[in-house]
Assembly symmetry: C2
DNA sequence: ACATCTTATGCAAAAAAATGCATATTTATT
DNA sequence: AATAAATATGCATTTTTTTGCATAAGATGT
């Protein structure tokens, strides 16, 4: 019941089509909860059937028409209620860490490469985060309530990303020591 | 195909029963990949059918007998191969961050409480991590290959945990400002 | 006309994960 | 003898997620 609430959250301020949601889910809220377009369309159908979303077709020029979804009063109520429920803390599952339990002279080069790739990817993500922060969240204390929350999520991403970089450096250093021993 | 490899990873050095695996999955590898006992028993069955694990019943005194699983040669090969595959980077899905996008004067107290709870939980986890590090990983550079990997996973957990604490503090400060405005 | 790209929506099936239920052995306690 | 707790294993169902496939409108280029 989590994707449902992520989608409704994305619709708090703007009505969006499945396609637009799908695109937004590669940024913003999608940084913290993403889904494929197939999942999104399915969930939109379920939420409409439940009466939590309404839909209307919107004509577009130069593009195929789209179906735009918006929160109903019932949907808003359900979302507000959901916030008050308890969140089960789920350990972040990361295959890379499982792989580290398999570390070995035979695979150290591969694992090193994977960490480097991840580091590179995180650098790019952090650059994006920082751009967003500078442009939209320069003064968090003076933001309206909801935007403060969004800012904190962004700050979480930045914080975690920076930690990840420093961990990568630490890991790469220890692993490079291993490789030299191997030779 | 991820739990399968986590289970096989747990069996690299020791043969274990489903019950023991289930217990270990609340610590160690379980810090980074956990599963319920139901999932574990099912996966053990599948892996046995595939020929990646063998099983034998072990009599115990004072307890019911147990069924102990161990990696077969084929299982070891499959696991080694798996390490060389590419890991899809999955964004950590965290409901708390989705909730932050719903931040509002009506729920700021609840979200503040949830963050405090999480902070407390992380403090305890970090204490556990640090205990393990001090006891088993005091000198990472001199560890054998595989243990270095395990150490790096632990270091990841510690690093991430510490940054989570600092984020919580930042969040709680910003939120406390909100609450005073609300009054 | 034809191919290709972006926009746009969806079904169906398979795999993975979560949830609820069910059972059995042994020890310790009342 | 009955009850409870820890140890130990598993099935069945539902939910969630992933993957593969399929379609179509409109724009642009050849």
């Amino acid at each position: 019941m989590a994707l449902a609430h992520a989608i409704m959250t994305a619709l708090i301020e703007d009505d969006l089509s499945g396609y637009e949601l799908s695109r937004d889910f590669t940024t913003s809220l999608g940084f913290f909860w993403n889904a494929s377009h197939q999942q999104i369309y399915q969930e939109l159908r379920k939420l409409s059937e439940k009466g939590w979303l309404n839909k209307r077709e919107v004509s577009q020029s130069g593009k195929p028409n789209k179906i735009v979804y918006g929160l109903t009063a019932a949907g808003r109520d359900a979302l507000s209620e959901w916030v008050f429920g308890t969140t089960r803390t789920q350990a972040a599952k990361d295959e890379l860490l499982v792989k580290l339990y398999n570390l070995d002279v035979s695979n150290v080069a591969h694992i090193t490469a994977e960490i480097s790739e991840r580091r590179e990817g995180m650098m790019q993500l952090l650059y994006l985060y920082e751009t967003i922060r500078r442009r939209h969240y320069a003064e968090p204390a003076s933001l309206p309530a909801r935007r403060k929350g969004v800012y904190l999520a962004l700050a979480f991403g930045i914080n975690q990303g920076e930690h990840f970089l420093s961990w990568c450096d630490q890991a790469l250093e220890l692993l490079s020591g291993m490789e030299s021993v191997e030779k």
